[in-house]
Symmetry: C2
Subunit: 365 residues, 2 copies
């Protein structure tokens, strides 16, 4: 339609030249600070990233000394930290938490991304308040990569917005496309909306209205290939590149997938050791099974990205060990290098005015 | 509180003495009528049930003759049938569909239960219109048994109500308890509400309000042990006997579990045949793996029960083969023998007036 199509706009985002700095919240996570510090060291030594650790300096310095890495990873002191059970409100009251100090580094330009394995609620609240949403973005949303193997599928929102409105779902689709483009190079991602049946018109009110909006703006969205409804059993079927849903459904679906994968692994382990013959069989399959476990292991995927803020934020699993933290740093680095913020800005903010107009109309639901 | 506690009331429901008759919709399902007819024959011969087949008589008679079962299974003629893709509206317009005729048998007292592998939307609409909801029941809900192994977990609603209100979720909890009691003998089922975090107060507005109502009525609900929030990864963890959710979230969660189980089975199959050594291993484990596949196979569980209508309705998987249909007949038989309708009536209809009063207040949300 207009000369500034999404694809063209997106293609014009040049990758950054200087390497980004990842600020790691050393105090967040079930195994903080020890595993977090070790993860940061791995990210520097094994992945060649630029990392700064944020948290209580004496503790961090001691752990770095153990790894002989005092000169590899700089430390920024933060005296406070978010507790794992703390929700949104509590985290607002902690301006000196390690997560808040890391956000300050980003705002000042001293860092480009935040990685935290702290409580999702606390990190979402802290970074939303301190980094603010990008212009035009209604709400930040959590994007996770589902363990589909070679062709990854991005699920968004995985839990930042329990109650969503149709126009938010439309933006989640654009945030997810920016992610799929940046992280996996998919120029025109296939987008599906998660619902209850495959036929058009199926689903709850939220989904039906969001589907209308996505279908109505499809011809303007050259950077998106909207495919309509997808169902729960399609999540791992690689039918789409981006799955759009509200944070409630998305969080339940993601955890159902993770829980079932764990359950199935456990059931297999039992089956493979249920008899002497089966045990011999399991021995012969060790390598294949190890690879499979890695494939189904959610930690392999680095964590959830909180999209739509002025700065890259990656939330690692709360129970992340060193390699999980390092992979989360890798993801944060890749998103910052790919300038995901710029891509989101072009997709969400610089949309044709008639699209914004339609959004406004949708408020009257 | 009052003398008519739920447990006492529930215990007083005597099992029926005469064997119930299960009306099987011969025309619904991907493999109808052949596999459905074979399933009905299995239900009669292997499970000793009383079954009547409903559908196009000539076709059914031919299939029964092939099985030498013309005298084992009576047939009631219905000239019309619901198409698999047909939704609610279309099915209302088919008063002579096999599903509608089966409902008529139940209303006349000639049958006690309906089993159909037809489209969920069509069967829900047809049976809701023709059997009507039980007194006091706001909406019928679909209950499914999750593949958790020995201790089953009931998920309700699995997809009948895409948009639910908090008071419906409260009733779904009672419907699910009646199911767990009838099908598995759990007298005081543990109930969890499916949401986004484990801490109280987490979740969307619907969940938060339903949790308030369930907690407020907990002391009157002696036949229910309300445990608060559960998350997606708890679905297969046997933490509760009944999982309550709206039909949108429930359907997505159920299909996510099924899809992930299928994906994991496939991934294992690949892993087990990826090398010569692994193949030998797989050979040694054949039996263990076959058992595991059966355990993760959703067809083992008979199907979804539509609860809250004047008559027992079981909806089998659309792709059910003969044994899936027979198991669905077994489930319908068990629910009818256990008088699930009476149990639901006592739990939902004969509740203390102050509970109904609170429900009325909740409308003002």
């Amino acid at each position: 339609m207009s000369g500034t199509s999404d694809v063209a706009a997106d293609a014009s985002v040049a990758p950054r030249t200087s390497p980004p700095t990842v600020a790691v919240d050393a105090m967040g996570g079930d195994h903080a600070p020890a595993e977090i510090v070790r993860g940061a060291v791995l990210a520097v030594r094994e992945l060649g990233l630029r990392v700064v650790l944020v948290g209580r300096r004496p503790e961090i310095a001691r752990l770095l000394a153990e790894e002989n890495a005092l000169r590899d990873v700089p430390v920024v002191h933060a005296e406070d930290s978010l507790a794992m059970h703390e929700g949104a409100l509590a985290s607002w009251r902690r301006p000196r938490s390690s997560a808040a100090v890391a956000c300050r580094l980003i705002r000042r330009g001293d860092a480009d991304a935040l990685v935290s394995a702290g409580s999702t609620g606390g990190v979402v609240a802290t970074s939303t308040v301190r980094l603010r949403t990008q212009p035009g973005v209604l709400r930040p949303a959590l994007a996770v990569t589902l363990p589909t193997g070679e062709t990854p599928t991005v699920l968004v929102d995985a839990g930042a917005n329990a109650d969503a409105k149709p126009e938010m779902l439309v933006q989640f689709a654009h945030l997810g496309c920016a992610y799929a483009h940046t992280a996996f190079g998919v120029e025109r991602p296939r987008v599906g909306i998660l619902t209850i049946g495959s036929e058009p018109g199926k689903g709850n009110k939220l989904v039906r209205r969001a589907t209308e909006l996505l279908a109505a703006t499809a011809e303007e969205s050259q950077g998106m290939d909207f495919r309509g409804n997808i169902e729960g059993h399609d999540l791992l079927a690689r039918r789409v590149d981006v799955v759009v849903t509200d944070g409630h459904t998305g969080n339940v679906a993601l955890k159902a997938v993770e829980g079932t994968a764990t359950f199935a692994m456990e059931a297999f382990r039992e089956a493979l050791t249920s008899s002497a013959a089966a045990k011999v069989g399991a021995f012969l399959q060790r390598r294949a099974l190890r690879e499979l476990r890695d494939r189904l292991d959610s930690e392999t995927y680095g964590g959830a990205a909180l999209l739509g803020l002025n700065g890259t934020v990656v939330i690692a699993h709360g129970d992340s060990r060193a390699w999980g933290v390092a992979r989360a740093c890798g993801l944060a680095h890749d998103l910052a290098v790919g300038r995901i913020g710029d891509r989101i800005r072009r997709r969400v903010h610089h949309r044709p005015p008639n699209w914004l107009h339609r959004l406004a109309q949708s408020e009257e639901r």
